[in-house]
Every structure is written in structure tokens, then in C-alpha cells.
């Protein structure tokens, strides 16, 4: 069972709907070391299937897959509000790093999701809450134009302890002025190797 019907196509990867058939692979990614800064979730394939099948209509959950359909990661747009015209990109996880070394999979996934959010859903703001010691993801979000808007103290319980969460956000004009050029430059300059 798919969580929705939206497919976003890029040059290197596609974002296709997360489905209950993806329970086993997504669970293995979520239980890996790379996911230690994400909120704890299901611990069994059955629980992961149930979690996938219960995704609300206010979310789009995607599998990042290579053009040969190899699944390499996941990415979601959650807490979508038509009233406030905002949403949160979330659950961004490259599960199969080996398969994407040298391929701008994460960059194109970001591009496709931002285009979907700002151009198709006509949202005006995206935001993210990231564990304060998840330096890679904070760096990633800031690199593509998100600004730090605040720190939520002891907001998360991860790795057996409470930690702060960094609140980041980007507005639609900033997306057009900063994110789009940066994504395009980076994707192009990586293609011409």
C-alpha cells in the first residue's frame, strides 16, 4: 500500500511514494548508526509496516531511489498546513551510502522536495528541528539557505539523554534567491566531471 501517489523525477534519482513494501529496508536504515539523531521509531518490520500505513494526509513520505530503482534513502514533508502555508522536511536519511557515493542523490532529493513544496504546494515557509549535535544536517540545511531561528532547550531525548534542538527555517523568497541557484550550480558542476 502506497502512502500517496506523487512521484518526483530527477536526473539521478526519483522520489516515489513510501509503501508498506518498504518496511523492511526502511527499518534497517532507521536502526542503523546513521539514523541515531532521528526520533526512535518502530523496532520490528510489522511495527514499521503499521507506521507506514498510518501516515496521515498531512504528510508526503518518499523513498529516494536511483534510476535503476535501487532504494537508497528516505525523505518526508510533514506537518503540511494549507492555512499557515508551511511544512517541515523531515526523516531525511541516506540509508545506502555506498550506492550514492559520487552521485548527487541527496542534493537532487532536496531540490525535488523544495520544488514540490514551494512550486506545487505553494507553501511559503519550510522549517526543520534538528538535534543540536547533528552537525551534518544543520550544516546541510544552512548551506541550502535555511537560517537558524532558535534553540529549543532539552527538546529531544536521544541516545539516552536530553539534548537541545536547533530550529531552522527558510522563506519562499529566500528559496528563490539562495537555494535554487546553489542547488543548480552544485548539480551542474558535479555533472561536468
Amino acid at each position: 500500500m502506497k502512502t500517496h501517489e506523487v512521484v518526483l523525477k530527477g536526473d539521478f534519482i526519483n522520489l516515489r511514494p513510501l509503501a508498506t513494501d518498504d518496511a523492511e529496508i526502511t527499518l534497517s536504515w532507521r536502526l542503523s548508526e546513521r539514523a541515531r539523531y532521528l526520533n526512535a521509531g518502530a523496532q520490528t518490520v510489522e511495527a514499521q509496516e503499521e507506521w507506514i500505513s498510518s501516515r496521515p494526509s498531512s504528510e508526503y513520505n518518499f523513498i529516494i531511489e536511483l534510476k535503476d530503482k535501487t532504494p537508497v534513502g528516505m525523505l518526508s514533508l510533514v506537518d503540511i498546513s494549507d492555512i499557515h502555508r508551511r511544512a517541515e522536511p523531515a526523516r531525511f536519511l541516506i540509508g545506502n551510502k555506498k550506492a550514492v557515493c559520487g552521485i548527487p542523490a541527496a542534493i537532487e532529493a532536496e531540490k525535488l522536495l523544495y520544488e514540490f513544496a514551494f512550486d506545487r504546494l505553494k507553501l511559503l515557509r519550510l522549517y526543520a528541528t534538528v538535534a543540536s549535535n547533528n552537525v551534518k544536517v544543520i550544516t546541510w540545511n544552512k548551506f541550502f539557505g535555511m537560517k537558524e531561528e532558535g534553540r529549543l532547550r532539552n527538546h529531544l531525548f536521544l541516545d539516552g539523554r536530553f539534548m537541545d534542538s536547533i530550529f531552522l527555517g527558510i522563506l519562499e523568497p529566500e528559496y528563490r534567491a539562495v537555494t535554487i541557484p546553489k542547488l543548480n550550480v552544485l548539480l551542474h558542476s558535479l555533472i561536468i566531471s
Partner: protein, 89 residues
């Protein structure tokens, strides 16, 4: 200006992904050890190091990278050459 020893090799250490400290190391593209999340982290570390070491604020992912015939992010050597050009202007 010794881009390799002053900027790139320390950045490789800071990144901590086990990249060999060699001019031939492939950063991105076929045969690379980095994924694009790692590459972005590396670019940010290098930009900060240039600012700290040479007091120059450069943006590596800019139109200048776009207009080149070869990707400046392909190897350590091509990145060093690109940085040298940016810093000499």
C-alpha cells in the same frame, strides 16, 4: 599559499571520512568516497578554513564553478587549483 597543506588536508582531517590526503583523491563523481552530504560538509569546512587562514570569504558553489569545463569538485587537485584561482582575485 599552500592550498593542499593549509586548507584541503586539514579539511580532510576535520571531515573524518577517511579520504586519502593525496592530490589524486576523487572527491566526487565516479569512484568517489563521498556522498553529496559529505561533499557539502567538506565544502563548508574548506570555505571556513579559507576565511580563517587567508581572510578571504569565498563561495565554492558559485557561478564560477558552474562555468568551468571540468568540475572543481572532482579531485583534490582540481579543487586546489580552483581555490587558488578564487583566492588570487
Amino acid at each position: 599559499m599552500n592550498i593542499l597543506n593549509e586548507i584541503i588536508y586539514p579539511a580532510i582531517d576535520e571531515l573524518g571520512e577517511g579520504l586519502p590526503k593525496s592530490e589524486d583523491t576523487i572527491l566526487f563523481g565516479e569512484g568517489a568516497l563521498l556522498d553529496s552530504v559529505g561533499l557539502v560538509s567538506f565544502i563548508v569546512i574548506v570555505e571556513r578554513a579559507i576565511d580563517e587562514k587567508y581572510e578571504k570569504r569565498v563561495t565554492l558553489a558559485s557561478e564560477k564553478a558552474f562555468s568551468r569545463s571540468q568540475s572543481p569538485f572532482r579531485t583534490v587537485s582540481s579543487l586546489a587549483q580552483y581555490i587558488e584561482e578564487l583566492c588570487s582575485k
